[in-house]
Symmetry: C2
Subunit: 717 residues, 2 copies
């Protein structure tokens, strides 16, 4: 019944259109910013843009962007073109092992079985726009090379979906797999993976918060029991997520998708070789070269760490000096100096280092975007790590144990000397008698785990909103002055509202999922590294993240351009960073417990260096053993996703086998005759004689019994 | 041309027969030992045996085994039966993902493409004999349950091949992949993997020996440079072998074969469930249960370690006391006491512990043999580790640093007190002035790495030979006395020589590849843990292993029954043990270097505990970083085997795709019509109006240019 299936699928395709009908069928908007450029160049590039889009079967409409840019609206010219592209993409997935089952041989039937999601649709169109010529795309790369005037290419928000989404999420406690599935169908796997991670983390935080609250109220400060439980929790979480990630990737049909990525436009090949697997000619850059270039990361990471740590150490020293030693003039003002220094120097240093990191990553010449992003993430993780944790490390492992030794030497400029001399008749050794501030560490931890989180949440939600408002006002004013008046009056009245919306969306920022992932991973780091100091941290995070999960969703809906639904099969390099932080946590916790556990007021008991070292070694090896055991235990329990994948693969093969079964039996019968006829020739007479001595099993049994009787009866005699 | 292909394959099958023609076509021999059992039981079991073999299509011949046993000779009844079984086995491999390509649909053509190796043939027949009823075998499990009189089931040596093999290997320097392939075709992958490992290890030892010799002659004793190089070498070797193993498994077509194993007869299921993947009903034992049972390993390993270590520590104390403190009567005799104590107690203790380990492993209830073997290996590795390395650890980390403190307290029975009093006028404090023996550690290392290796080699080659000779003599004498005369006279003259050979082979021992693997892994441990003490260890091992590789081959040919060619895709648990030893090496080397490096005569310089701990922490983390880097670097370089596998998979899929291409295009054309006809209905008028404003790309360009000019020209004015 091919007719009915065809019409069904058309209904389904039309449904997909109906879903975005609010967007008038627009799939992507290309913002072409000509403001300030040479007219001829602008016109040439614009003409080329339309031609390129037309060339790959995309239909375009042009409208005024009102702020010195042109908006090009894009959709596929025919549904059939799209269906063909979808099928081709699915076949490619299957060829490269992303799918276990081949799509149905008949294109249309394949679409019926696995309906086209909006994310897949948008991804396919995105590929048409951005893939290079050679791979069947228009090759448009925003802001790069010959497309420097193309400001951005973005899909349009589906406001009805967004509204419903916001409403659902703000009224439910947990985001289940079904919700994640919906999210994935709209925004693609990369974004869905972030929310899946956040939800898993949130669920685990409930346990952590219960443990933390219990420890805070029932156990002594710096409790060993709590530290161990906390480490165990972090290990289990990391291992759980590793499995969960694979499971989700399989369920979403994106496993191994990272191996099947489109080439970055900036990739420079050394030579063209034949792909050893597919036999196609591909651009090739030797792995050894990249490896050698990657080795540069090590000195870079070390250098960056030293620089940033040194900055923090200096500021820290100044801070301690000013708050706890210095008593001279302007103290009320000077105490703000460290904050000012950090706010000035850290951004400067980080941006310089980020610049170098970007150069390095470019130099490493990754073939695809996810490789590039992973390498960049790993480099910036170093800065993030230092900026987030070094202030606390300094307090815990330098200020507290060695404060009494170091602080007296901080006064390098002898600023306090007059005070000492004047006060020396009150107290003989005012500096030597300096007492470390026992609450400092706890206060700092509370600052980082509560105050900073709240500030951050506010910054993420309120500031961009305010920024956009102000930016729009300024722009309006500028445009008015420059004569680029808003051409709302020229808009066809029927489209006015729509175009206004699109102009707003074109001004929004791009959503980068890595920023949100980084925030969560760094937060996880506070838990693993410092929660023995203040066990309630997990409670704070639990509350924060419940809101974060929803506010991030709102952020995507309201403050960001709709993200292009890229695919991903992992949260990428952040997974390694999670593991690293869990490991560091085992070391840090051990050291903290050793340093502070006997003290009731935060001052450490008498220190022995080998004590610290021994407790670190001990704790770290316990960590390894535990991580190994947890991994082993989890590996024994097959995840439902993997099971499903194996089942699919098995069924595909069995079907193939059953199809070929008829042929097989036929040939077997034929062969039997031949084989029997020929067999005797091959055997030697000696062999024949050996095997013919007993004919059939009956004679064998008799011969055997004879031997047995011969021996046993002789014995009996 | 089905005719020619059929006859070809028959020739090939006949060739396979010709290869074992020396064995008169015998595939397996079953030794049925009835001596000492009840006659009725013997006859019943014998009859059942022949019937079971006959039932699965095996042909039997019975001969007298001469020493109270019956030899049952087994071969498949028809070649066609075998071919069918081979095809079924290959299809099963493919269904479970061991093969990437399905075997050719026509059975016979499939055999032509991939000729049947002797190992595969023997494996298939082995499965026919040993698989349970439900899986289509005769269910014969030697020495177990209802088959307690079946002493063994073994294939026959191919003496011509063995002779040629010995000759080739004794005249070549290295065993290349081709030789390993030949070995695999005869003895199966499990044995071939051992030799592949040994050859890889041997090749790496050349580098280690060069480094070691260089260090011994050029660098100072306990050189840091050497220790680092040595650790690096071991890390690279382990990572190299991990990859090599995967590569070999892919080349030999056995990747993932461990997931496709036949059930152990001793496996006890909890219930029968439907397999979630294949849908078949399978016997099921929950993974959680096994995991809980496996947890018992931890207290067992700890207990066993403590017991054995305590034994060694006691004997060590006695030894030190006797050799270096005691000076009383019978010293010449008493110095042998430690050796005697060890020779008595270690075997007793180990056998008791092995008994417990076996019980534990049985209790863990593994489904297949390799799981069982792996679990057993991991348990015995604990004993091996302690017996091999604890004596050296005691010398290095107890005797040398603390000797001066501990030794004076060793004299718990005050045996030396009289001597002290009598000698006290010569030396005031004879015990307190005790000096540790600086050469002790080096001497011990040399003993373990040279003497013990030579002794071991001799034990492996000469002792079994002598044992067999003596055993045969005794047997002959016993038989003569018991009246079970050798019935050589009853043998048909044509078969006499053959039967004599088989009787001999039936007396040989089973070859257990794990014993040989253990030997090599423990040897690797000496290198990683102690080679800074005496860098020439690697030279000794290089020489030893060159011989070992050949003597092990000879051992299999001469002193062992021919091994059943089982499949394997790894050296199994030994891989983890290698990694563990490399890790331990990083710790041990650091400690050794720290303790001994400044001393010229082997006595350590002044110790600080935190120094040792710090150097251990430092070294261990360097190890982690290096292992990570090496693993990363190796993962970037695709192994040829894996590449081949991916290529095969890709080609299979592409072929499938090309076959279905015709269907696809047809349906596409048909759909195009339908799609275009229906499309307009789905779109709203608003949408139509939006998209119809500009007709075609030309109008788009014009509209865009108008907007651009409007803005840019206004600006110019």
């Amino acid at each position: 019944m091919p007719d009915s299936s065809d019409s069904d699928s058309d209904v389904q395709v039309s449904d997909a259109i109906a879903n975005v009908s609010d967007n008038l069928g627009v799939e992507y908007v290309i913002s072409f910013r000509f403001d300030g450029a040479d007219k001829q160049k602008v016109e040439a590039q614009f003409e080329k843009l339309i031609a390129a889009l037309d060339g790959v079967g995309l239909r375009t409409e042009v409208r005024d962007g009102a702020n010195g840019n042109v908006l090009v609206f894009v959709r596929v010219r025919s549904e059939q073109k799209l269906v063909g592209e979808v099928y081709r993409s699915r076949v490619k997935d299957w060829l490269h092992g992303v799918r276990s089952a081949a799509p149905d041989k008949e294109t249309q039937r394949s679409l019926d079985k696995e309906p086209l999601t909006e994310a897949e649709r948008l991804r396919i169109v995105w590929q048409l726009i951005t893939l290079p010529d050679s791979e069947g795309g228009a090759g448009i790369t925003p802001k790069q090379g010959q497309w420097d005037l193309v400001e951005s290419v973005f899909p349009l928000h589906d406001h009805e979906f967004n509204k419903a989404w916001m409403k659902r999420w703000s009224t439910t406690w947990t985001i289940g797999p079904e919700e994640l599935g919906k999210l994935r169908d709209r925004f693609g796997e990369k974004v869905a993976f972030y929310f899946a991670f956040l939800q898993s983390y949130l669920s685990f935080l409930i346990i952590a918060a219960a443990i933390g609250a219990g420890a805070f109220f029932l156990l002594p400060a710096y409790s060993l029991t709590f530290a161990i439980t906390n480490c165990l929790w972090s290990v289990i979480f990391v291992e759980y997520w590793k499995r969960q990630e694979v499971d989700l990737a399989v369920r979403w049909g994106v496993r191994n998708v990272s191996s099947l990525q489109n080439r970055r436009a900036q990739f420079k090949h050394h030579k063209e070789i034949e792909d050893p697997i597919t036999g196609e000619v591909v651009k090739f850059f030797p792995a050894w070269h990249r490896l050698a270039r990657q080795a540069l990361q090590i000195p870079f990471a070390l250098g960056a760490s030293c620089l940033l740590s040194a900055l923090y150490a200096c500021v820290f020293a100044i801070e301690i000096f000013l708050t706890e030693v210095y008593n001279g003039p302007f103290k009320a003002v000077l105490v703000f100096l460290p904050t000012v220094l950090l706010s000035v120097f850290v951004p400067v240093l980080t941006s310089v280092l980020t610049g170098i990191a970007t150069k390095l990553t470019e130099f490493e010449n990754y073939e695809n975007q996810s490789g590039y992003e992973a390498a960049m993430t790993q480099k910036t993780f170093v800065f993030n790590f230092i900026c987030s944790y070094v202030p606390l490390f300094l307090t815990a492992f330098v200020y507290v144990p060695f404060g009494n030794l170091i602080v007296p030497h901080l006064d390098v400029f002898n600023l306090t000397t007059p005070e000492i001399t004047t006060e020396s008749f009150l107290d003989d050794k005012p500096i030597d008698s300096f007492q470390i501030n026992p609450d400092r560490l706890k206060k700092q931890v509370i600052y980082f785990t509560v105050t900073a989180q709240i500030v951050n949440l506010a910054l993420e939600t309120i500031v961009p909103f305010a920024k956009r408002k102000i930016f729009r006002k300024v722009k309006k004013y500028q445009n008015a002055r420059n004569g680029v008046a808003k051409k709302a009056s020229h808009d066809p009245p029927a489209e006015a509202a729509f175009l206004k919306r699109i102009r707003r969306e074109s001004e929004l920022e791009h959503y980068d999922v890595h920023t949100d992932l980084r925030e969560m991973v760094m937060q996880f780091g506070y838990l693993t590294l410092f929660s023995p100091v203040w066990p309630l941290a997990s409670v704070s995070f639990l509350i924060n993240n419940w809101i974060e999960l929803r506010s991030d969703a709102a952020k995507i809906c309201v403050e960001m351009k709709r993200p292009v639904p890229h695919r991903a099969d992992t949260i990428g390099p952040w997974l390694n960073n999670l593991g690293f932080l869990a490991w560091m946590g085992s070391i840090s916790s051990a050291a903290l417990i050793y340093l502070f556990s006997d003290s009731t007021n935060g001052t450490p008991h008498s220190l022995t260096l080998y004590g610290v070292l021994a407790s670190i070694i001990f704790s770290e090896h316990i960590y390894f053993a535990t991580a190994y055991a947890v991994r082993l235990a989890m590996s024994k329990l097959e995840s439902p996703g993997l099971q499903q994948e194996r089942r699919e693969r098995f069924l595909v093969r069995r079907r193939f086998l059953q199809e070929s079964l008829g042929v097989d039996e036929e040939s077997e019968v034929k062969n039997e005759k031949v084989a029997f006829g020929k067999r005797a020739e091959g055997t030697s007479t000696e062999e024949e004689m050996f095997w013919d001595r007993q004919q059939g099993p009956r004679e064998c049994v008799d011969a055997g019994k004879e031997i047995i009787r011969g021996v046993l009866e002789k014995k009996d005699q």
